[in-house]
């Protein structure tokens, strides 16, 4: 071994290099408070390792970015761990950087001759912020998409070059393939390259100036401690600190199940839960205090001034008073950032709309996993197609947009929000189920807003029939009516009721016959299996089935349904208010088919 190493050393001089790295004099000996620089380097190296591994499975395009991240997260062995480490180590890097910066300022380590190195550190901070910002978009989920849109919109208010800057950055007028390829090039190429150069310069200058030991004259002994050197004493401390950072990150990864992945980005889908990463939240909050037109103050002028002041700290720090000012300034900034961050989260927590939006985002994120795991997998057109064709996702939205001005769904607008206007038509939760029909045929309930109460039909034939005839039913007739309900509900063939329908086959057969009987009398007015020539009320054959309901939503004033007695139910099909596909999604959702 020796001869080989000697040969290698002769040709490369690696021993000298190694010695230069390891034998760094540390006045006053190794200390725990010197570990921050090393932990930062460690964090960056971990980001490089995990980043490269993620790169090997990531696809930067609008139909593949989310999908590939989904694959990494859910299908790749250990992928969630990889992503989780990359995600939380990014957070750790932010924290370590700020700690490092604070330490430098408190110790006055920015003073001559270390001004340039201080600026290197400051530049590093911005590179890391840039890495976070660009990285946030790459999974192409709703959260990253909308939060990044905020950031690039702010870039567009930069004087003179703003719009051009934004367009160049996102690769066109709108987000798309090129936004991802560009952000990825920044995130995995430009910024890491700059990071390496800056770190190298930073470490080089640091080595040139040595560690800062505080306010004592050079050469003095720190509390009588002998001087030490990097290897092995400081190295041991550094390594233990790095291990601690890693342990903290792993704890977070395991506790949270890795980095979050929302539903795929959708420019047509509102996303009220859009928020940047927590370390940008103060800026997010800060901008709420700047009314239109003054935004540039909040987004560019004031932050620019603050950064300039920080950059000038080394000069101010030459005087004792200046150093005090620097300390005070940094303290104020940190307190301000802390306060704004806290305010931002406190306000969100107290905002029911935000909380509801977050729940919806969570539900959509879970739903897309179900869909992507389904038998059809993720089509080449991307996972968004799955959500767009999903009744459970689209149904409530369509209902809120198109139906909730008259109807309610379980008392709300379909999405869980309170109704904007008073409900004037039936509540459609469980439409055609046994429970729903039992209520309809109940003299106490039929004229309530849940059914016909808010409509022209409140005094219609059906209500009168229920309130007079059915109210007078004897016990035997009521038993029969229960069977009629089962039979009528079975027409709908609701998936949730499949087991019940199967179990009650004989009662349903009885009910089917009873419906046409004189004692129950439905067929006096309703068509039922071809028993009536002219139907006064809606046709009951196939009531609530997919075919029936589709026809109904398409055109309720068709003679099969309400005919010219139709109250206000719009003709969604003929008037092209809804497409056939949308009607299909609504109907499937109302019927609980997904």
């Amino acid at each position: 071994m020796r001869p080989v190493l000697d040969w290698l050393d002769d040709r490369t001089g690696y021993r000298r290099l190694l010695r230069a790295v390891l034998v760094e004099a540390i006045p006053g000996g190794a200390k725990w408070r010197y570990v921050w620089g090393s932990t930062l380097t460690f964090a960056v190296v971990v980001q490089f390792i995990t980043g490269l591994a993620l790169w090997a499975s990531y696809s930067a395009n609008a139909q593949g970015a989310w999908e590939s991240v989904f694959y990494i997260q859910n299908d790749m062995a250990g992928g969630w761990l990889l992503r989780g480490i990359h995600h939380y180590m990014a957070h750790a890097t932010m924290i370590l950087l700020v700690l490092h910066l604070m330490q430098i300022v408190v110790a006055g380590a920015y003073r001559a001759p270390r001004e340039v190195n201080f600026w290197f550190g400051l530049a590093l901070l911005f590179i890391v912020l840039g890495l976070s910002l660009t990285g946030y978009l790459l999974p192409w989920d709703q959260q990253g998409y909308w939060a990044t849109k905020v950031a690039t919109s702010i870039a567009s208010i930069t004087p003179f070059v703003g719009p051009a800057l934004q367009e160049a950055l996102i690769g066109g007028a709108d987000y798309g393939h090129l936004t991802l390829t560009r952000f990825f090039a920044l995130h995995a190429g430009v910024l890491p390259g700059a990071l390496i150069v800056l770190i190298a310069g930073h470490v080089f200058l640091f080595r040139r100036h040595g560690v800062t030991t505080g306010e004592r004259p050079a050469g003095a002994r720190d509390g009588g401690n002998p001087d030490g050197q990097f290897w092995p004493d400081q190295a041991l401390r550094d390594a233990v600190a790095c291990l601690a950072v890693m342990a903290a990150v792993l704890y977070l990864v395991i506790r949270t199940g890795g980095a979050p992945l929302g539903a795929p980005a959708d420019a047509s889908e509102p996303y009220a839960a859009a928020r940047p990463e927590w370390y940008f939240m103060f800026l997010f909050q800060w901008l709420t205090y700047f009314p239109a037109e003054t935004e540039i103050l909040g987004a560019i002028v004031i932050p620019g001034l603050v950064v300039t002041l920080i950059a000038l700290m080394p000069f101010a720090g030459r005087w004792r008073l200046g150093h005090r000012f620097n300390l005070g300034f940094m303290g104020t900034i940190l307190a301000g950032v802390g306060l704004l961050t806290w305010l931002a989260y406190a306000q969100d927590r107290a905002d029911p709309e935000f909380v509801a939006a977050q729940h919806r985002a969570q539900a959509a994120a879970e739903r897309i996993v179900e869909l992507a795991r389904g038998p059809d997998g993720i089509p080449p057109s991307g996972a968004l197609t799955l959500l767009r064709n999903d009744p459970l996702t689209q149904g409530p939205q369509l209902f809120a947009d198109r139906c909730a001005s008259c109807h309610s769904y379980d008392g709300h607008d379909g999405l869980g929000n309170e109704l904007a206007e008073a409900q004037t038509a039936a509540d459609l939760k469980g439409f055609a189920s046994r429970e729903w029909l039992t209520g309809l045929l109940d003299p106490e309930q039929i004229a309530t807003p849940r059914y016909f109460g808010g409509t022209d039909f409140a005094r219609g034939r059906m209500v009168r029939m229920v309130q007079s005839r059915i109210a007078g039913f004897d016990a035997a007739q009521r038993d029969d009516l229960a069977k009629v309900v089962k039979a009528l509900s079975a027409e709908a063939a609701l998936p949730q009721q499949a087991a019940l329908d199967e179990a009650d086959r004989s009662e349903i057969a009885e009910g089917t016959a009873l419906l046409a009987s004189e004692s129950i009398g439905c067929t006096e007015c309703h068509e039922w299996r071809g028993t009536v020539e002219q139907s006064l009320g809606p046709v009951l054959t196939g009531f609530g089935s997919r075919e029936w309901l589709t026809g109904f939503v398409r055109d309720a004033s068709h003679t099969r349904f309400y005919g010219d007695r139709n109250d206000r139910m719009p003709a969604f099909g003929p008037d092209e208010i809804l497409s056939e596909a949308e009607i299909g999604l609504l109907v499937e959702w109302l019927r609980g088919e997904w």
Partner: protein, 194 residues
Amino acid sequence: MSEKPQAADAPHVVEEGSSGTAPAPRRGFLAGMGAIAAGGLAFLAPVWSGIRAALEPLERPRQDADLIPVAKLAAVPDDGVPHKFRVVMDRVDAWNTHRQLPVGAVYLRRAGDSVEALNVVCPHAGCFVNVAADRSRFVCPCHKSSFDLSGAVNDPASPSPRDMDTLDVEIRGDEVWVRFQNFLPGRAEKEPVA
């Protein structure tokens, strides 16, 4: 590099390093080992999960190739010459599930009522083998491997280590069904990929 020289180096380095007192050799050795152990441990999870992700394709479950319909029997001319047919099937490609995706091609040659199927891929280096212009043989455009119309190597100078890869064929009704498989190139035995 074994750890010994390093450990031996540590105290040695200190002597010429600084004005400070060197740690006792034994303590220095332990600290050095501790630093290496702690540092290594800190990198364990990222490196391990990175390698795991890189090698993930090897862990993916293999799928058995099923017979799939490739052509109507009537579409294969009874002229003794191989004809190329596209193989279209459902395919899971990492995160995407494709329906009816063209995944390769086969040569079908009618021999009376039976049909022979050859994979179009050259067993030498994986190029797409052509039928020569005069329809007398197969030639690979890459390295000039040459095969007769049944797919057998017909030239001693041919670089292909084996005959073209035959595929299982079944005639079902009026359709030709083929078990579409690719095989490892560059070796004398025919061994399926995945």
